[in-house]
Symmetry: C2
Subunit: 397 residues, 2 copies
């Protein structure tokens, strides 16, 4: 039985970042860049008006009020190549390029319109007034997104701005899911006496889909070594293979032995945590295998704290668990020896979390109580008693 | 010009929760339940062994050590109908149903195996030891998930456990996106002088896809009323229509007028915030229309704070913005009059956030600086100066 932190370390040591693939930026949210993105141009690409107004050179105006003739008009997306005389200006719209030898834009509010296309300037303009200069945001060739950057809204917009409609991102792993157990039937099938419904399977598939992964569901396999080996062979060509059930130490917990027969090397089996103790972690070449217990609370915890971490790391993200400090609202006692994750309702009060361990929760099969929780309170393995109002760590989902 | 809070109120007032649709539970993460889910059976559905061990009635043992004959074996998924004699027990596996008149399971560790299928019980067992009783987690018919519950891992598992492989969830809105502006070209097209690339379009599509919405992208339309009206008509049959650009007050900001010609009633136009002031919000029957400015920082802010809120509310969630208190690391001064959202790097120190406003950021067109931010520092409209080390509100993305 190994410690939780040791398990994390052993898992992360085995993770290799996956290769890259081309992704359209519209589909790339939360993906990790596998290339550097440089600007292919100056941004803005020309001196640009930041306002609707009148463009000229600030040197044209010695004293105010001054009168200029409006030669023509220039809109965003247009180009006005004509040179201006010293007595002329151009009406200009936000986003339009400033003509040569102009360097300021005076706002509508700061002029008076006269007859015959003349305007009167009331306030002396300064150089660069209401102008975004070429290359002000970024110069051509500069790296604007580094390899490893996670794509959020701004990153997608930046890629678009510099002409990257597709980017190289680390690919998502192939993650098949296999449920095992003679007692299991799928949720849409009839339950006969002695059977229960498969809840780990749909939950794992849903959790993986939320991560943007398209998991391959291999169904339920009976607790027979021959059947198990056949299904395990199917899943082994993947990046991460999740097998639910059959990893405890009973006579019919056949998964570790069947995995071994398929050439999987055990890295560890059993963790000093509650729930989730029977976790199996193994490897065959570049393929990693997680065997999680059939109890859904255990599997949910192991997925969030270890499997998800491994998947994220493969895709290039190193996001940590959302751990916070909180105050426990009731005394809590436990048997020592294992790190315990206690389902809890967690309320935010100011910047502080208040922890209400679920009273009705009675063990790792009790998925129904878990819907009332927002996270797990974490009790270190050495602690037997936690007094009301003391501080504890919480893992927020 | 209306206040931000007033805009939020006006928007939320117009939101109607959408109708329901059937969704497979594997696809239902983050969806909102539009029905109550009751358990269709007792959970567990039978008295179940929580351990591998030996099942009998605790009354069979008056004194220890005691000897019992192992009659047969029962595995998870099997049913053992035979009655036991007072001198007999059954070997039982985790998850298997307890036969009639048995009420405890003694673990392997607490017995000694003898010859000829006999075992010696070393410790007096108690009633219910290592047994999960029928209906202990939930009784048949009890409501276990309420209408309005957000589906996470545990909720998906619970639905599976009670046989709901599909659920009724509030449907996702239809959200088309239209970009406007003569100066815009799509990211994969050549940029000629005076043009810039469309970054709002791909960003909005990506942000919507992240919410699980399949947006309909209507492309770029030129600043011509006829073209605008034609495209607007296409988008108006949706739940929420997002139009980017053309909502300022310049001569070629034609969107509000074109919307009006299409029968859209203005609810408000212009907000007292920076960036994002030109926001337009209107309505035509049950269809809501957001006109956002062309600058991507404004659009990102407006999407996160207002449009996303509206979409979530339509789908039945009432998640609030992730607002926290933090400490500003430098003096900050501003012109008063509008609530200001300042892009900032935000670091977590303990339970406290430290705010580093981006120094290089120069305005709502500067999407390139925005990739360095984690959120916005929020400065109320009345404040002109914020001293270093004072407290400010931050909106974490």
């Amino acid at each position: 039985m190994i410690k939780f932190e040791e398990a994390q370390r052993l898992i992360l040591k085995k993770i290799k970042r996956l290769g890259r693939e081309t992704v359209r930026i519209e589909e790339a949210m939360d993906r990790v860049l596998a290339e550097e993105i440089a600007s292919d141009m100056d941004v803005p690409p020309f001196n640009k008006s930041a306002m609707d107004g009148y463009a000229f050179s600030h040197r044209q105006i010695k004293n105010v009020p001054a009168v200029l003739k409006v030669k023509s008009e220039i809109r965003a997306g247009e180009y006005e190549p004509d040179k201006l005389k010293k007595t002329e200006c151009l009406k200009i719209m936000t986003g339009a390029p400033l003509p040569k030898r102009t360097d300021c834009v005076v706002k509508m509010e700061d002029i008076e319109t006269l007859k015959n296309n003349y305007i009167k300037i009331m306030k002396k303009p300064s150089f660069g007034e209401n102008v975004c200069f070429k290359g002000e945001d970024v110069q051509k060739g500069r790296i604007i997104l580094r390899k490893g950057a996670v794509l959020r809204g701004p990153e997608v917009a930046v890629c678009a701005a510099v002409g990257k409609s597709k980017v190289q991102a680390y690919r998502r792993p192939k993650v098949p899911v296999l449920s095992t157990g003679d007692e299991l039937v799928e949720p849409d099938k009839k339950v006969t006496f002695g059977k229960i419904r498969n809840s780990n399977g749909p939950m794992l598939i849903a959790l993986l889909k939320k991560m943007g992964i398209s998991p391959d569901y291999l169904g339920i396999v009976k607790d027979k070594e021959k059947n198990l080996i056949c299904k395990i062979r199917k899943g082994l060509s993947s990046d991460i293979f999740i097998i639910s059930g059959g990893v405890s130490v009973g006579d019919y917990d056949l998964v570790p032995a069947a995995l071994e027969k398929c050439g999987v090397k055990k890295i560890f089996h059993k963790l000093a945590i509650t729930p989730g103790k029977p976790l199996f972690f193994g490897q065959k070449g570049g393929h990693l295998i997680f065997g999680v217990p059939g109890n859904p609370v255990s599997t949910y915890l192991l997925f969030l704290t270890l499997i998800r971490l491994a998947i994220n790391r493969m895709m290039g993200t190193t996001l940590n668990l959302n751990l916070r400090k909180g105050t426990v609202t009731s005394d809590y006692s436990q048997r020592p020896g294992r790190k315990r994750f206690v389902p809890a309702k967690i309320k935010m009060q100011g910047n502080r979390h208040t922890i209400y361990p679920l009273r009705e929760y009675h063990g790792s099969a009790d998925i129904i109580s878990l819907v009332k929780a927002d996270g797990f309170m974490i009790i270190p393995d050495s602690i037997t008693f936690l007094e009301k109002n003391s501080s504890a760590e919480v893992f927020l989902w």
